[in-house]
Symmetry: none
Subunit: 197 residues, 4 copies
DNA sequence: CATGAATGAGAGTTCATTCAT
DNA sequence: GATGAATGAACTCTCATTCAT
């Protein structure tokens, strides 16, 4: 596959991403993507066998970017409370976002493809996030910002909570206020009372 | 609609429920339900217009039963810790269950039908559960079983956490142990250390 | 499947037969048959899954008829020479026929479906024909019409020869004269010199 | 067309032959051949317009080789019975061969291309084989190895029989024993009883 | 009410063939 | 000459939905 092909493939992935954002995973057909890309029916098949393959590629690229963004956070000069707050507020923005989100498509995809594959992007992402938060809480406990007896479970608890907020946002819908209050609550369980902003 | 009709409609709903449990929501076709009911293609259309209508009815009946089951719990004679533990363990059983669950279908359904409708069963259920847990925690605080400064958010937190565990169980998969540890953690944030069972 | 359905199925088989006669086996698509029957695309699928199934049914009916026609022959009152001649002349007519013949389609079908299936119509037909001719030759030997030391192989020889003529007719093409001469030759190997007709 | 081109064309023909042996004629696509040759899609079109042209070339080369092999036979020092037996045994080997044979592809090809073209390789081959066998039988009659009143039809009879065995081998399937018995029978009609080998 | 045959739109997929490079 | 990306026609198959009976 030449240089040009790689660009075209990337073009397809980008366009397909928009379609998945728009329609979720299951409702998307090869035809949808063909039309979004304005290429021929057969043309798409030169690059991908089916929507599953395309979504996997979209997901792969997504996780690459996400990893970068997230791991940069902890190196900054700030208190642990600041860092955790920053992280949670970013998650809040992300999970309340209506547009340009693959959340729903990802869930749908995972419903269809439950049998855990080796390269389970979602799981890996989850676990690595847990690890980072755990480290952060431990650091916070050390310098007495936080109080916590089981940092590992506390970290996991935050991640599951976020997951719950995320899916709730996609289904019943939640408000920014609801998320804010939960963020406050998380801090309160860690022994921190946040000042009013 | 005569008596016979009502029975037939119920028969369809029951059979359809099995299909939704089996295949989720989106993959289910009218054909699937026709075959599951062993009725004629046209016959199904006399009762329901499409799978959406059928699933709504399934969901409606489901929530009726769930309410009953759940509200029965709190009347028993037990400590608040006991009651909360009982509730969480039941939720655990429910969310780890692989068979006979409409969880996935429900999520899929809500993805498709996001525009919040007045009769949003899921939301109502969620809110009523929050209320009950809140009352429970308040009672626990009163008789010094629990320590909690914001019972409302604590209750909401538990529900979002359960939601996170539920969706995780359906996508990346989680173990019973993971849930147990989160239950322990919840109690620890309420100032309770559970004895080993 | 009701009475009406059976008729429709038969209608499809009849129309499909025409298509197979016209185009052979492999070139025939479901679309061809749909058009020949003037029914809807999906309609055909109510009766048959694919062209293979349709052709099998065509073949099955064909062999039923053929069997009848052929087995009727031997009961007539005639010399063995007469009967064999009659048979061979009918075969001649059949194999020289350009229209209304499934020969080519059958060969094509067997190329595609070589793995011998239990109900191998072609093989059964062949063997039963061999048996009948063998009986005929034996009878002819008995009343001194024929001379033959190995009636079984002689019968088989005739059938293979006919097969050779048949395929040759379909490929390189042969004339009536060629067949006539081979018929004469067959009789000569059985010690019979046919009068000029 | 330069030297290099001729070599490439030959390379394509050789590879295509393998494909035709493998898949018959009709199932073979230009894509198959492109892949077998590991050349570009457009490249193939520089040499051949379609599979038909390619198969014609394969067939042409095939017949050249076959002619050579076959005509060499009769010059050897042996009785006519020996020569005919040798020929028939070679045909037997050939027609029972499963691998490396173009038989099925050839039949399929002739089904598609019935309109007898001037350069009908198959027909020519058939007729030249008939001539040679006829000569052989005549020679055998002369030196009293064979008894035969119509050597021409006898020769043609042998060739049609072989054709019948060949197509039967490709469709219903036949055993070596079946062929052996037919060879014996041919000799018996020529007044020869073969010794047991 | 109930049936189930029939329709036709639409999704997936494959390839012969072309053409800019 | 050679490449291989791109096109678009053609085919298979599945269902939601209708309608005569």
């Amino acid at each position: 596959m030449g240089d040009k092909s790689i660009k075209k493939k990337q073009f397809i992935v980008d366009k397909a991403r928009e379609v998945f954002v728009e329609k979720g995973y299951k409702r998307v057909t090869m035809k949808d993507i063909v039309e979004a890309c304005d290429i021929s029916r057969g043309g798409l098949y030169l690059y991908f066998e089916n929507t599953n393959q395309i979504f996997l590629e979209v997901l792969r690229q997504e996780s690459e970017e996400t990893d970068d963004v997230f791991s940069g956070r902890i190196t900054e000069d700030a208190t642990c409370v600041d860092i955790l707050l920053l992280f949670l507020q970013e998650q809040k923005k992300e999970l309340l976002r209506k547009k340009n989100t693959l959340v729903q498509a990802s869930y749908e995809f995972y419903f269809e493809n439950k049998p855990a594959r080796k390269d389970d992007v979602l799981k890996k992402q989850f676990e690595s996030a847990v690890k980072i938060i755990e480290k952060l809480i431990e650091a916070g406990v050390e310098n007495e910002e936080f109080y916590c007896e089981n940092c590992s479970e506390a970290a996991r608890n935050i991640m599951f909570l976020l997951e719950g907020l995320r899916i709730s946002a996609q289904t019943v819908g939640i408000t920014a206020d609801t998320v804010d209050k939960q963020i406050d609550y998380i801090f309160s369980t860690l022994g921190v009372i946040l000042e009013e902003e």
